[in-house]
Symmetry: C2
Subunit: 280 residues, 2 copies
C-alpha cells in the first residue's frame, strides 16, 4: 500500500525541518549563474539546485512558469529536474497553480500526480477560482496514489485580499475560509497530517482571512514568502504558532542568489536556522 | 504596427460569426476517433480539428490540460497544433487558466503570448484567485504584441458561485465584478473591442455576479457552455443581449463527437445556426 502524501510529508518535516527550496530559474538568475536563457539553462539550473538540496531539506518546489516559457523543450528540462529530485529522495511540489473543472481538472492530476507520468511530482499547487469543489476530480485522483495538493487559500500579495477576503453568504465566512472548508472535506484520511494542503502566505494576518487554528489543525501548509520576500525563520513560530510544525517554509531567491558555488552551504545555514527556531 | 488582439478578434467575429471550436482531446474522444492515448493521438486529433475549422470559424480553443497529461511530448504535440491553427488564419485561444504574480505571471505570458515562442497563441485564459491586479504583468506583456487574455470572471459550474459571487467590502461589488474592474482597467486602448477579455458562462444569471451590460461594454467575452453543455445559439442573444456581438461562443463535445469524417460538416451547420441567430 502506498503511503499517503501527508504521511510522507510528516516524515520529511520531522527529518529535515520546514525548509523547502524553490527552483525558480528566472532570467536574472540564469545570467548570474552563467547559464543560457534556454531549456538547457533551466535544466542545468534545476539539476544543480536538486544536487545542493538532496539530503539537506524536506522538499523542493520548482516554479513551472520559468520552464514553461521554453515550451516543450522547457517541459523536457523540467521532467529531468523532477526525476532527479524524486530519485534523490526529495519531496517535489510542482508549483503550477493549475485550476479547472471536471475531466479537465482530472487531466492536470494525470499530468502531475499519476505514478509514471513524465511530469510526476509528489504534490501540485492548484487554484480555486472556480470554487474549492471544482478541484474534487484532481484530489480524488491524487490521494489514492499517495499524492497531495496545495490549494491557494490566503496569499500575501496585496491584490489577493480583493478576492480571498471577500465574504460569502455564510456569516463570518471569507472566500479563503470557504475554499479551505470545501477542499479539506475532500480528504477523508485520518492521518495526523492530511494530504490536501493549503498555500498560506508567511506574513499574512490570518484573522483577516478568518483562518483560525482550528480549521487548519491537520492541514499541511505551504508558506511562500520566506527569505528575500521578507519573512524570517522566527516568523514561522510567530505567524503559525502551534501549526508551525505543519508548515513547509519556501525560500527561493535568498538561497538561489548565493550562486552555484555557495548554494549548498547557504541551504545548510538556512536549514539549521529553521531547525533552531523549531527546536526552541 | 501590430494590430491589437481586440481588433483582430472584431474582424474575425465579423467575418465568421461567434463560433469557437474547442480542441479537447479527452480519453473517450481519442478512443471514438480511433486515435492513441498518447502525444501522437492528441496531435493528430488537434490537427484534424484545425483542418476542419480553417475558413469556417473565427477561433479555436485548445484545452491545454489534455495535452499536458502527456508531459513534454504532449506540449510538442500542442506546439504543432497551435502553429497549424495560426498558419490557417484561425485565432487561437490557449485555454490554460494560468495564474500567478509578478515575474512568475510574466513567465506565463512569455510562454504563450510572445511572438516566436514555441507555444505562441493569440490569447490565453488566466485565473484571478490572486486578485485581478496580480495579472498585470501578463497583460502588460501581452498587449503591445497584439495578444490578449480572457480572465476567468463568472462561470457556470455550480461550485464557482462560492468564490465569484462573494462580496468585497465595496457596496454591491462581487468578486466577479471586482476582478472585471481590476483587469479591464489594465487595458488602456480605445479600440471598439478591447484586448482584455473575460470568461463568462453561457447560461449564468449575470445579475447574481453583478455584471451588468455597462461594465462589459467593450470587453471581449469567451463563453463556454454552448452545445453539449446545454446552451443554444438562441441563448447567445437571450443571455448577452446587446453584448452578443462581442462573444466567442465555445463548443467542444457537440462538434467533436461528430467524429473525424463528420466534423467539418457539423462545424458548417453550427456556424450557420449562430450566424442566423446573430443576423436575425
Amino acid at each position: 500500500m502506498t503511503a499517503s502524501f501527508g504521511r510522507r510529508l510528516r516524515a520529511a518535516l520531522d527529518a529535515y525541518g520546514p525548509l523547502c527550496v524553490g527552483i525558480d530559474p528566472h532570467a536574472q538568475l540564469l545570467d548570474d549563474w552563467g547559464l543560457g536563457q534556454d531549456a538547457a539553462g533551466v535544466r542545468d539550473f534545476g539539476l544543480r539546485v536538486v544536487d545542493a538540496s538532496a539530503g539537506r531539506v524536506a522538499a523542493v518546489k520548482p516554479q513551472v512558469s520559468f520552464f514553461e516559457r521554453f515550451g516543450a523543450a522547457g517541459f523536457a528540462a523540467l521532467e529531468s529536474v523532477l526525476a532527479a529530485a524524486r530519485a534523490a529522495g526529495l519531496l517535489v511540489v510542482a508549483d503550477a497553480k493549475r485550476g479547472d473543472i471536471g475531466t479537465t481538472m482530472a487531466g492536470y492530476a494525470q499530468a502531475w500526480l499519476e505514478p509514471g507520468a513524465p511530469l510526476e511530482a509528489d504534490a501540485l499547487t492548484v487554484s480555486p477560482y472556480l470554487g474549492g469543489g471544482s478541484l474534487a476530480e484532481a484530489i480524488r485522483h491524487a490521494l489514492p496514489h499517495g499524492k497531495g495538493v496545495f490549494v491557494l487559500a490566503a496569499t500575501s500579495n496585496p491584490e489577493g485580499a480583493s478576492v480571498q477576503q471577500a465574504h460569502t453568504t455564510r456569516p463570518g465566512e471569507t472566500v479563503a475560509l470557504r475554499v479551505t472548508r470545501d477542499v479539506v472535506a475532500l480528504d477523508d484520511s485520518t492521518d495526523p497530517l492530511g494530504s490536501v494542503g493549503l498555500v498560506v502566505g508567511a506574513t499574512i494576518d490570518r484573522a483577516a482571512f478568518a483562518l483560525d487554528d482550528e480549521v487548519l489543525r491537520a492541514v499541511p501548509l505551504l508558506a511562500p514568502g520566506f527569505g528575500a520576500q521578507g519573512a524570517t525563520a522566527e516568523d514561522l513560530r510567530r505567524g503559525f504558532g502551534t501549526l508551525a510544525g505543519n508548515v513547509l517554509a519556501s525560500e527561493s531567491r535568498s538561497i538561489l542568489s548565493a550562486g552555484p558555488d555557495r548554494i549548498a552551504a547557504t541551504i545548510d545555514e538556512r536549514a539549521a536556522r529553521y531547525q533552531e527556531v523549531m527546536g526552541g
